[in-house]
Subunit: 289 residues, 2 copies
């Protein structure tokens, strides 16, 4: 059974004539005859009355019902891929905790407002496991720290964060080695790229091992810093958004350690679903990159 044949059947039903149907679909009448005949052979039933003006038989009407449904789905699928204002289906995103907390809400909101037919799922996790998810095909795109150098993947720089040292008391300068040695650090669980920066900071001071507490959420971490439990390293914008709720202080870090870029990593653009392509559009607009 060919979609073409069904479309011809619909045209015949509409126009009540093989010639008019042919004209409507820009073909010739003999082809209409052939297609309808083939359908009739395939289904073993006469679909069209040929006495005088043609009319669908009851078998034809029964098939017409399916033809309409079939072509509606087909046209919908085609429209999805053809017109850039369409997006539907599902979109599986992944993001780091901090990006999710501060950068994504307005973007997700804007996307959902424009493309309400997309079912979004967003999971958070550290950079390493997000990349794994992406490569396993369990996510369509992930927000991670740092670009991926792989020709099958595409990295779009979307945010630039400046990391700052967060402490419970004001500081004049980056703490000395001695101070750091005795200090406690709070960080997200292993795999988080910000934690790697903490270790980088410590390494730059010649310190290899130090006590590090692990947290799962931002609020818990900042609460503990404010309570004097220790230091942490976070994006400036993240800290500033929460500063009014916690009695915390920040200190600039050396730029090689401080500057970290967030990328949106996906498979090659050619493989993007319409939903994903529209998401990247939204991202470009909202993040202004």
């Amino acid at each position: 059974m060919q979609l073409k044949s069904l479309r011809l059947l619909m045209a015949v039903a509409e126009t009540g004539s093989f010639m008019a149907a042919a004209k409507q679909l820009h073909t010739v009448q003999s082809n209409v005859t052939t297609h309808i005949k083939k359908l009739e052979e395939e289904l073993g039933a006469q679909l069209v009355h040929r006495a005088g003006g043609v009319r669908l038989t009851s078998a034809g009407l029964a098939l017409l019902d399916y033809a309409e449904r079939l072509l509606a789905v087909h046209d919908e699928a085609l429209a999805l891929f053809k017109s850039p204002e369409n997006a539907a289906g599902q979109l599986r995103l992944g993001s780091m905790e901090t990006t999710m907390a501060l950068r994504l809400p307005p973007i997700l909101a804007a996307y959902h407002a424009n493309f309400p037919d997309v079912d979004m799922t967003l999971s958070t996790g550290p950079t390493a496991s997000l990349i794994e998810k992406l490569m396993a095909g369990q996510a369509d795109g992930v927000f991670v720290a740092g670009a991926i150098d792989h020709h099958r993947y595409h990295s779009l720089k979307v945010f630039s964060e400046q990391l700052v040292l967060v402490s419970p008391t004001p500081m004049a300068s980056v703490p000395s080695s001695e101070e750091l040695l005795t200090a406690t650090f709070l960080a997200f669980r292993q795999g988080c790229s910000y934690r790697q920066r903490i270790e980088l900071l410590l390494a730059s001071q010649g310190i290899n091992a130090v006590r590090v507490f692990e947290f799962g959420t931002l609020d818990a971490m900042l609460g503990c810093v404010a309570a004097g439990m220790g230091y942490t390293v976070l994006p400036r914008i993240t800290v500033e958004a929460h500063r009014h709720r916690f009695g915390i202080h920040t200190m600039e870090l050396p730029s090689d350690i401080a500057n970290i870029d967030t990328y949106f990593v996906t498979p090659e653009p050619a493989t993007w679903s319409p939903a994903l392509a529209r998401f990247v559009d939204t991202l470009r607009q909202e993040a202004k990159v």
Copy 2:
């Protein structure tokens, strides 16, 4: 876009391999490649990741969603026509008032029990207008008095009725001409074949015109006969079913006038929809013809 291609895409998604997909659908791997490639060109998006084991891209997954819907509808349509135990869609029947009242209820009930997915509509009317409806394509089959001699239509004899003269008082024999001349006749509206029999009866007595009242429903008519308003002519089985409710009496008529057959008339069997074909099956069983 070809249904074949979509089916291949589904097989690829399922098996995760072009070769396995080819085997599953009894074709060769090169054809799978070609079909998928054609889909990709048509939609302008890569549908399948070719790194190592093949996997659908997010665009592929989006299309897969439509492919599944499309093929489900297609298979449903095909199953409808292929397997004789299926029937769906609509069935538009027409029937004479008397047949509807007495013969059809058990048949319609049996049909509906077996094929609940068919939307039945039944309209009643006199033979003439039912035939018109059928010919105009507004009905799929009609129960009428007498066969149709037309090579585009098919008449199936389903019931044999014996017409009797119905009167308010007992009769020893068919009323004489003088009695008939002064009598009033009650009948369905013009077009009803039973009414033609009344006129035939009168003509056999050399009477051309007589007073005839027209009624739309059986109950009204029988009620008026019982009340002594006049005579009527109806199938014996119809009268017997109502005799206990009305004080009426019957009298046999000459067999050439009395015997009348009810036919189920449809377009040619080749044009029957599955729903109609199953109805005729049911009819043959229930009516035992």
